[in-house]
Symmetry: C2
Subunit: 501 residues, 2 copies
Amino acid sequence: MPFLGALCVYFLIGLRPVMTNNITEDIDVLVFLPQNNSYPFSHARVAPAILYAQQRLQAEGGQYSGIHFNIHFENSDCVNGALFLLLDRSCGQKPDLILGPVCEYEAAAVVRMASHWDIPVISAGALAAGFSNKNTEFSQLTRIAPSYVKMAETFTAMFEHFTWRSALLLFEDDKQERNCYFTLEGVYHLMADFNIKSYAVSMEERLDTDDILQNIHDTEVVIMCMGADRIREVMLAAHRRRLTNGSYMFFNVELFNASSYGNGSWKRGDKYDSDARQAYASLNTVTLLRTVKPEFEKFSVEMKKSVEKSGFHGCKDCGSVNMFVEGFHDAMLLYAIALHEAMKNGYSKKNGTEITSHMWNRTFEGIAGQVSMDVNGDRNGDFSLMAMTNVDAGTYEVVANYFGGNGTFQLLPAFNAEHFTLRGRHKAQPEVPDKSCGLGVSALTGVIVGAVLGTALLIAFYLFRKNYRITIERRTQGEECDTGKHRQLREDSIRSNFSAA
Amino acid sequence: MPFLGALCVYFLIGLRPVMTNNITEDIDVLVFLPQNNSYPFSHARVAPAILYAQQRLQAEGGQYSGIHFNIHFENSDCVNGALFLLLDRSCGQKPDLILGPVCEYEAAAVVRMASHWDIPVISAGALAAGFSNKNTEFSQLTRIAPSYVKMAETFTAMFEHFTWRSALLLFEDDKQERNCYFTLEGVYHLMADFNIKSYAVSMEERLDTDDILQNIHDTEVVIMCMGADRIREVMLAAHRRRLTNGSYMFFNVELFNASSYGNGSWKRGDKYDSDARQAYASLNTVTLLRTVKPEFEKFSVEMKKSVEKSGFHGCKDCGSVNMFVEGFHDAMLLYAIALHEAMKNGYSKKNGTEITSHMWNRTFEGIAGQVSMDVNGDRNGDFSLMAMTNVDAGTYEVVANYFGGNGTFQLLPAFNAEHFTLRGRHKAQPEVPDKSCGLGVSALTGVIVGAVLGTALLIAFYLFRKNYRITIERRTQGEECDTGKHRQLREDSIRSNFSAA
């Protein structure tokens, strides 16, 4: 009998790999992507990646081949489209998994409902800081692309490394999808310990570079999120005012549009090209770190083919794999891994909370490299810092990388410390960041100036103490003031609540 | 035959009044009110008014007696409760009419869905400016209580009448329901042509009256929305600094809590009562105009009885009829009128768009007086301006009324022009409102202190030396600067998007 028992154990051990793979389940996936091709996450670009992942997962003999994904693509309009579709079809069978939407306001509504119904949502969007709070209404959200707050870590790492203390956040705001608003909100959110101001630019209005540059004067670093043409306009204006001489650091954040940064981004073929090239010597770009692995090359080729086959040739780099294409591909893998684990543990596919918990706090191999999810279900991000390394040619190189997984800031050979050193600056900044006017300091300065003045008068008086008639005239003019165009931000805060919420 | 035709016509004419009344229909009404009694629009307070209206409408022989309202009360939690309830029950029969919710964010979600499903929504809440745009997602919303923008008309009328030009909006913000934020947003929204700044106060933090008063100095008018104790704190601090001497106008907006304004609102039984009374001589209150008509008295008595019967004695004036109680009562009347008209025209109760259109741009007799709805489906508001008319006794009177229907500002006998005239003021205000900074002023103070110090020394010197003649002339110029604590608002704008959206 002991022999039979041992045999039985060996038999079970031998069977184990087969058993663990032996999970079969039908999974209804609802994917929200815009049919409108103007988005970098449009259906035409991202759907092939999802189908690619599906094929790989269902390949014969694979660990997840028993999972049959029924994928339904639905349109997303970045407003309420996804919400209405989800609700209108919710009376029937509810989906087991939702992929997307990407746009913040639309995602907020969909994730709210999905969390209420215990349906996992994975998105390569929903990057705004507000989604970080997963305690209540966003409990089922897993973010497979690094959020804006993760991007902002690159800035905190830089600020600490270079001991910068103040920044102006300059962004354009369309009051609709508000990508740049949310992008720099992430920076604002994370950098509470620094002295941060912000300046919003409306999409409709002409850029008031005079006013912008006036706001720059008391900060060290300018972080911008705007269209490429407007970035150039600001840089040219700054150059004309000699603000690009190293006394200010300029950054732009460009996560999705590869074509609007790096080599030649200053070039327009107009008479300002030469100035722009020189101005851009002070402009650094924070973007996603690009990784390459052999498997990814094959994926890229497939994606290019699929996009071309769909007859979509809207843009220069439409066929390239961006963060969304990669993210939604990896979303399928991550879900498969989590579902597999949950079911092994005896849970059903309808237990969204359980499946979601298996997607968080884990690292897995994605299509472009390792994907690391933090304990809060948000992907850790790796970012690159690009700077112009050859001013004559106007060419850019990656000079540093930031790795979100372990929070390290890595300097590359092309890095030039000189380039990131603020010139012609007092080392010490006002101690109290909130009092942007330095009230205490300036009053003290005034008292000292006044006292010195009085003393000097006394001494002068003493030196010429004869029967003179002294007339002292003094004129003080208003001190320089800090103009803040905060009204726009406020207005914006107010309009936003319902305009697109 | 002509005779028979004429007879037929007479018969039909005679029958007409009967025919028009002869509409019978079952109407499912879904009412969202909080079970939580801390709200002035809680179920215990408002439900009796809705049932009262139902009874009146269904009374035998009345024009609307054929309409049978099936009223379902559901809980509203001012977050997502109403949305989730609506959606979870939406797979069955959808309601014909939704009353409530009141809270802004919850209402936004419910109205969005209701508009998508063509269900009329009437609320005595949803008062924020964002709901004014009824082109898309709020198309089915009718607001039966005057919105915050309507309230703000009172201020524009006053500003024009008294030729004031600048104001500081001072409000507390709980970042959850945000009543005060939305209240003064209405003012901000409407007063774009004036020089308006704002200052948000967090609910958790101690009031920094020094900082607040520093922000006051370059504005003429301070408009506040805060708890009664904080209003008192600000007024006392302003009084200590002699800002209540007529050189500034102070207002608070208090639409719902009758007990926190008017006679005795300054009184706490502490040692500051006397100062507070004097300070409040500069504090004016904008509130809802109260009307009285015989029918309303009966309604008031009934409401008091109902609230008492429900065993709800939470507050001093819980039994009194507030804007919400009145509004939801009148909502039933307005819907009945509109449904009746729509059905007479051959439309069904399921045609929400048609019924809603009959509720807009009309005037009808509500329980407290005439109710006038504008073309956008928002109620025109009548407001009162209260001021302290007896400083010795510390008593208030209504000194002016604003009538939203025709936009007139009516001065009452108690009105004292002197009280509303800014004293010790330059007529002209700085042209550029955005310049923000206290730097100039404080540095100037320092310089003056220093110069005085020097001058004193000189004079001492003169007195001792005797044989010198000293003439000192001094001219100071200096632009007034505006310190703005906008960061709070900005942060708030950022947090708000998802924290409660």
